[in-house]
Symmetry: C2
Subunit: 198 residues, 2 copies
């Protein structure tokens, strides 16, 4: 079954994030969804092991297992997006981390994953997330083969302006369902909590 | 001024974590303190960019800038520890991420950083954290030089049993001051929040 094509317009509340502030979307260590597309195939997987690597230009790391279908799309296209699922999306995140498109080819259709892809963006992204980082793969063959470790340079970033504004997360001012999530194990997550100054 | 030597006994509540569960200490993306020692010099710095790399044997990544004194100790000794400061330690974490021992040689003394080092452990660790991962550096020269990216294999792990038990964080059952913290920018942190099943 073919998944419906991504919407070509930005969803409500989605605003661009300046590249020099993009690292702040990932700095607090949330679990991410990784999306990639190549040759008409699009896939999305969950990954808890994503991290900032540099400020400017912003770079990220993400661990992508050899058994995943998404990895083939990343390697073939040289592009991927990291996006931050919200507390409301915790069950979807677990599902996208459990089902593999290797065994469940219609995974995105099965889980009714809504996608959007604004003009000029080469990777479909998951609607409803709190933030999005579109990345160009920086090929590092040894890291990829030995450690399943992928490095990307962030080329564009977006966030839900209800929870990320002026370069800061503003979770305390928004519904709790929009908070980001941090996987511990077995579908158990810690939700991002209150902000403190230290 | 010389910092006092580390205590040689385990502080109250500190319990070992089985190596196959050690990744769960870091899986939710907390900000860490990095400690290392060599030739009679010990240092501790803060790092927001630490991440799990593998389950078994457990491996981690951490970004350590060339300007840091801690990096020299890591490279010289081939060992480091990642530890998870609590909400009560947010100001100390910011201080340890702001002051460098390059400019402030008595940094640990200035900030009265309490250390412990149980028998058999080659790296002093910061007392009062929620978890500790002692690591052997896996040298990867290109990553270290090009990306400031260090890989370690976890050789032992501990946690405060009031907040980590049976391989899971149990923050909801303990004082909020013991929760882990996630740096956003400029000394602003998000505290680890409530647990959900997704």
């Amino acid at each position: 079954m073919t998944h419906r094509p991504p919407d070509l317009t930005l969803p409500d509340h989605v605003a661009p994030v300046a590249l020099d502030k993009a690292y702040r979307l990932l700095n607090h260590g949330p679990t991410v969804l990784v999306s990639a597309t190549h040759g008409g195939h699009t896939n999305v997987m969950a990954a808890a092991w994503a991290c900032v690597l540099d400020f400017t230009p912003p770079k990220v790391t993400v661990v992508i297992d050899k058994a995943t279908a998404t990895r083939r799309l990343v390697e073939a296209s040289g592009q991927f997006a990291l996006q931050l699922p919200t507390a409301a999306m915790a069950s979807l995140t677990t599902a996208l981390g459990t089902d593999s498109a290797m065994q469940v080819p219609d995974k995105l259709h099965k889980h009714a994953v809504p996608l959007f892809q604004p003009p000029g963006c080469e990777v479909p992204m998951v609607t409803g997330c709190a933030g999005w980082l579109v990345c160009r793969l920086i090929p590092e063959e040894r890291n990829q083969q030995v450690y399943d470790l992928f490095i990307g340079e962030v080329t564009s970033a977006w966030a839900d302006a209800r929870v990320f504004e002026n370069g800061r997360w503003q979770f305390d001012q928004a519904p709790d369902a929009l908070r980001t999530i941090h996987h511990v194990a077995g579908g158990h997550y810690l939700v991002s909590g209150k902000g403190i100054q230290g």
